[in-house]
């Protein structure tokens, strides 16, 4: 079943086209990753989906119904976690979660249980009575998430929940999202960290300049590009003749040398690592580390757009 569907969304800010005929489809039970560099239109698309922002063209459907600012029955089943922390400094951790939960669940007893569960979920038990000002950045992010999901919505929308978070908290957050998914929620997750998206998302859409440039599972995405292997060699000196020779090796797509680092990209199923090693030995070039990697989503992005996902 399709949970969220957008068709040809267009959003303009004056001359700037923030969303350019953006069509997305999120199916039930997915962790849907929206991956794109800064300013690519991730937040804008979420805001349009949630009717927080009016758009110039297109249509948004959630749970099969058209989303509008007054579609309260749809809103009841959505939880949002925005890019910026949105909690009340005047309220404690517990009160904050309780307050946002009360917007969805009027019943006090039922709510108490939900809030307790949410607090356990983000592991803020010992901070219940803390005011947000007293929490570290990572804890604050976790509180922010708890406020968005305490009412146990069917659809959870998270906009870069791990920005500026230490690795420990980040892993907790990612684990939490997986757990929410296991409990049956459909999740839309935006990020410009490809590692995160690769780690948790079951379905990925890469966008740039408000346009979808690729979509599929991470395997599908990687299969889309011609590169199958990336070999990196740390070395101090290599001549241009040697570079030319390297590029002539079978299956090599590109070989680039910069910052004492040689990067060789080769086609799928070439397994060039042995060949490269032999080449270095024969030419008696001294080298440090040498390693081979499978392509990342960054490589996918790079190959499609010609630029890095993160600059």
């Amino acid at each position: 079943m399709t949970i969220v569907e957008t068709q040809n969304l267009v959003k303009r800010y004056g001359d700037l086209v923030a969303l350019d005929h953006l069509s997305l489809e999120v199916k039930e039970g997915e962790i849907f990753g929206l991956l794109g560099p800064n300013g690519s239109g991730k937040s804008t698309s979420l805001n349009c989906i949630l009717s927080l922002l009016s758009f110039d063209k297109g249509e948004v459907k959630i749970f099969g119904k058209t989303m509008k600012p007054d579609a309260y029955s749809i809103k009841r089943n959505i939880g949002i976690v925005m890019q910026n922390v949105a909690v009340f400094d005047e309220l404690t951790v517990y009160e904050n979660i309780d307050y946002f939960c009360s917007l969805y669940v009027p019943d006090k007893k039922q709510r108490k249980q939900l809030v307790d569960e949410a607090i356990d979920f983000v592991e803020l038990g010992e901070f219940r009575k803390f005011y947000p000002k007293k929490l570290s950045g990572g804890l604050l992010r976790r509180l922010n998430i708890a406020c968005g999901i305490a009412h146990q919505p069917k659809l959870i929308i998270l906009d870069e929940p791990t920005v500026a978070v230490d690795p420990q908290s980040r892993n907790k957050i990612l684990e939490g999202i997986k757990q929410l998914h296991k409990q049956g929620a459909t999740i839309i997750y935006t990020s410009h960290y490809m590692e995160e998206v690769e780690q948790i998302c079951t379905q990925i859409v890469i966008i740039d300049k408000g346009r979808v440039i690729a979509s599929g599972t991470k395997e599908e995405l990687k299969a889309m590009i011609s590169m199958g292997e990336k070999i990196t060699v740390e070395t101090f000196s290599i001549s241009s003749d040697q570079m030319t020779a390297l590029r002539r090796l079978p299956g090599v797509i590109t070989a680039e040398y910069a910052d004492e680092r040689l990067v060789i990209k080769s086609e799928k199923e070439t397994n060039n690592l042995a060949a490269v090693l032999d080449f270095f030995k024969n030419e008696s070039i001294t080298f440090g580390r040498i390693y081979s990697e499978l392509p990342t989503l960054n490589d996918v992005f790079l190959e499609i757009t010609g630029k890095q996902l993160r600059d």
Binding site: L50, L52, L53, Y72, K75, M82, A86, Y99, F100
Partner: protein, 388 residues
Amino acid sequence: MPIFKLCLKIFRKNWSSIGVFLVIFVSLSCIFAFSYSQSSLSKGFTQERAKVALISKEKTPLTEGFRMALAKNADFVTLPDQTEKMQDALFFRKVTYILVIPKGFTKDALNDGTMKMEKRVVPGSAENAYIDSIVRQYWHLATVYAAHEPNLSETQIADHVKRDLSTSTPVVMHDQHAASADSNFITGYFNFVAYGLTIVMIVGIAAVFIVLNRQDINRRIICSPIHSISVNLQIFLAIIIFALFCWTGFSGLGIFLNLKNQITAPIGYYLLNSVVFTLCLSSISYLIGNLVSNRQALSAIANVIGLGSAFLSGAFVPQELMNQTVLKIASFTPTYWYVTANNRIAGLGAGNWAETKSILNDMAIVLAFAVAFLILSLVIGKRRRMYA
């Protein structure tokens, strides 16, 4: 009603910053009440004595009588008849009133002549007014006697005038001023309330909006299943509760401090006027809450607006003593109309419909301000939400 409860919670959390203003206001009011009761008990109505130099170039029974008549309200200072010396004396406030009677003045005056006494004064000294009136009365009476009873000698005229002046001395106060003995305190208090109420309301209400209008919190509320009309109603209700709470506190304090004065003043009018003003302040605060998003700036703005409008509008100093231009500027603030209405209420006699009408008129202007500010803030609020 989660949003309503939240607003009340934020009001409570802001109690400390509001409390500071309350303490200041209550102590000022107490000082105010205390000093008022002191001044009204001990002083009453006394004529001020002026320092007068009377230089007479002739000595007639009438000029001597005149000197004695003046002596009741003046302390005489001797000065030589030299312009420069006189100016110095005025400049250094040795005298505030110099009167030179030219030679032949008495005769000329009794014959309805045109000769004038030469008068120099320190401008703006209140006590000179009494001297002026004595001068006018004395010579007026003398001329009247001379005109109607031509047989009287100058000595006799002087005696008659002296007798008349001494019988007509009692001061008759206008009804209105007698009533104001009580209403002065309560009027002053309610005028003064303009200051305290403005600050407390702005700080309290705007603080709530600063929180609610924070973009991401606002988004969470918009994304929730609570109807937008319900959201606004809940906020509105919370504001009304807070406003009534403040109003009750301030007017309660006023009535309490006023207990020892007899309540003859139409308290109901003061209460009505201040309720209307409170409503207006609610919508001003709503506007400020929509415009300002920083807490420190808020308390500065509240102070500037509170003190500024109260000062310009004559909440501290009676409007009669204020510069007309200042008052013209002040009339662009609701505070001015609130204070004006209070002052009118103070002078309100029973059954004075015309005056009641102008009081209601002032209140209507304050209400109009309230509506204008409300519309303005709704427009701004809407624009902000669209760009959210």
